[in-house]
């Protein structure tokens, strides 16, 4: 028998095609937005000086990893942010009444096929950056090149899930989780050297955003961290991604226990 999640996913896509015009508008909108992202990259390409001690093409590679990782996470689990709508309306009841994982259902229920385009664009930026930047190729580096965006996607995915989970306690959490997802994407795309002390300690190492792009790119470039992080950490992003994902999963389970199911 076919996988129930795939069946739900197919049903979601069929439902979306019922509203063709809005699907088309979404598609145009997201293409324009990604176009603007590309302009940012183009500006970076032209940087001749240095940004936090890194050349334009080195920074471009950091942007590239984040640019590939974030849309993958957004495509896979970005729609969990809809949770607060389901919690507010009580629709989450229906999710809990089915014999499937609640998180798994949420992921497929609002799957947005238009996000596939952003993944392709993000990966294209990454490939361009890999060609342009002075990567010190070796077998471990090649493996890292493949796994870094996936680990980053896991990291961002965990933040999406954790941010959405807050809605179980605080329905009006609004856009606060976006500060950590979209904001985190921007933080992760720059060399950590450009940020000030407290902010850097909190976001880069406390919350782990340095592991998404900055540290793995240092390994790809064959450089050590000018801020003094041990070299071994440059290879640790798959581990930290996994750790953060497990923590987010535990947070989700705790959140469900606090679901209040408003209304009758």
């Amino acid at each position: 028998m076919a996988n129930p999640y795939l069946q739900l996913l197919a049903a979601q896509v069929r439902s979306q095609t019922q509203y063709r015009v809005s699907f088309a508008i979404d598609l145009v909108g997201s293409t324009v937005l990604t176009g603007l992202d590309l302009v940012t990259v183009w500006v970076l390409f032209g940087v001749n000086g240095s940004l936090g001690g890194f050349g334009g093409r080195e920074v471009l590679l950091m942007v590239g990893v984040a640019a590939a990782a974030f849309p993958i996470a957004d495509l896979a689990v970005g729609n969990v942010e809809k949770l607060r709508v389901y919690v507010r309306s009580g629709l989450f009841d229906a999710v809990l009444l089915r014999p499937l994982s609640s998180l798994g259902q949420l992921v497929v229920m609002d799957f947005a096929p238009r996000r596939v385009g952003r993944v392709l664009q993000g990966c294209a930026i990454y490939v361009v950056a890999l060609v342009a930047a002075p990567v010190q190729w070796s077998t471990p580096v090649a493996v890292l090149v493949v796994f870094a965006p996936l680990a980053g996607a896991m990291f961002f995915g965990a933040i999406f899930v954790a941010g959405a989970t807050v809605a179980f306690w605080w329905i009006d959490s609004g856009e606060i989780s976006n500060a950590f997802t979209y904001g985190g994407k921007d933080v992760a795309a720059y060399p950590m050297t450009v940020f000030g002390g407290l902010f850097r300690r909190l976001f880069a190492y406390g919350l782990g955003f340095a592991f998404v792009s900055y540290l793995p790119v240092l390994a790809m470039l064959g450089r050590s961290d000018p801020l003094g992080a041990p070299d071994v950490l440059r290879w640790c992003s798959p581990l930290t991604g996994l750790l953060v994902a497990v923590l987010a999963g535990l947070f989700w389970r705790t959140g469900i226990r606090h679901y209040r199911s408003t209304g009758s």
């Binding site: 069946q7 009444l97 679901y259 209040r260």
Partner: protein, 328 residues
């Protein structure tokens, strides 16, 4: 399942909610409200239980705990021998749920597609699914609208779809939260008839919440009444009426004003309206026939109706009863 054959077993089940309230401009206080406050129930296999009470009494909250949606704050419960929240996905295959105001169906897809999706979601063998669907299609008369997207269905059609959806995986227990709310008379009859035939088969346990007296009278042999989160009655409808001495009423329209000195044995006057041309009499021992015959001798009658005691009246009496513990 427990030794005595109970499908649902709860003991001192409790659910507390914290309510934050504004006091003055900035201060807020936290109040703990017990929506369900120590409910102990045992429901045997094949029973059809009416779970009733006023709005906010804790009916839906109880159902949500039994179905694994809400985590209880205290007490123990088991449904089909499982603990609902930790074993939610296993339990989901054994129970069917219809929440009147929440759809289980896919809004934008035709009903038939929702049904075939549910087959995959619940991993039901194709033959079983087809047999159950055929039975529901004829019993609930679905054929005219199975290919219509759910968002275009009338409430009555949707409810028949919801019932079918809840039964396609052959659940042992069916939970229904106000399944007849907002339905027209014909749809109510269709739903009631269907539930009666389901109950007659005896292999499905049904727990039903409702505000509809006819649902209770036609379907439920056993009633559990809750108020402020506590069970205030557990027994048959007759026992409930007997315990609270509910009265039937006769409303008469007269051709002449009510003679205020008229005494009718076994009945008392409740209201006199319309300048004495309409009178409501409560029956206290006499039959409606006796009272009407005596009345017709004294005053010319134009019209009359007999009102059955309403469950809402009974519940209103339950509130007033001093034995009912209240929490505020």
């Amino acid at each position: 399942m427990s030794a005595d054959g109970a499908v649902i077993e709860t003991s001192l089940l409790r659910k507390d909610f914290t309510v934050r309230r504004k006091v003055g401009r900035l201060r807020r206080t936290k109040d703990v409200v017990s929506a369900v406050d120590g409910v102990s129930l045992s429901v045997a296999e094949g029973e059809l239980l009416g779970y009733i009470g006023p709005n906010g009494a804790g009916k839906s909250t109880t159902l949500k705990m039994l179905t694994g949606v809400l985590t209880p704050s205290g007490g123990t419960l088991s449904v089909c021998g499982l603990t609902p929240v930790p074993q939610r996905t296993v339990l989901a295959r054994r129970i069917g749920v219809v929440f009147g105001q929440r759809s289980q169906l896919w809004w934008d897809l035709p009903l038939a597609e929702s049904f075939s999706l549910l087959r995959h979601v619940y991993r039901v063998p194709a033959a079983d699914h087809a047999a159950r669907l055929t039975a529901c299609r004829s019993l609930l008369d679905l054929d005219s609208f199975v290919d219509t997207p759910v968002r275009q269905l009338s409430l009555g059609q949707r409810m028949r779809g919801e019932l079918t959806a809840a039964l396609l995986h052959g659940p042992k227990v069916l939970f229904l939260d106000e399944p007849t709310i907002g339905l027209d008379v014909l749809s109510k009859q269709a739903v009631r008839g269907f539930l009666a035939s389901l109950a007659a088969r005896g292999d499905t346990t049904v727990v039903l919440t409702t505000h509809d007296l006819a649902d209770i009278e036609k379907l439920c042999r056993r009633l559990v009444v809750i108020d402020h989160g506590r069970v205030v009655h557990d027994g048959t409808l007759e026992e409930l009426h007997a315990a609270y001495r509910s009265k039937r009423r006769v409303v008469v329209d007269l051709d002449a004003p009510w003679p205020t000195d008229l005494v009718l044995p076994g009945a008392s006057v409740e209201h006199v309206e319309a300048d004495g041309y309409r009178v409501t009499l409560a029956l206290e021992g006499a039959t409606a026939g006796d009272v009407v015959a005596r009345l017709a001798q004294a005053v010319p009658l134009r019209d009359l109706s007999v009102q059955e005691p309403e469950i809402e009246d009974v519940i209103a009496k339950l509130y007033a009863a001093p034995s009912v513990p209240r929490r505020n």
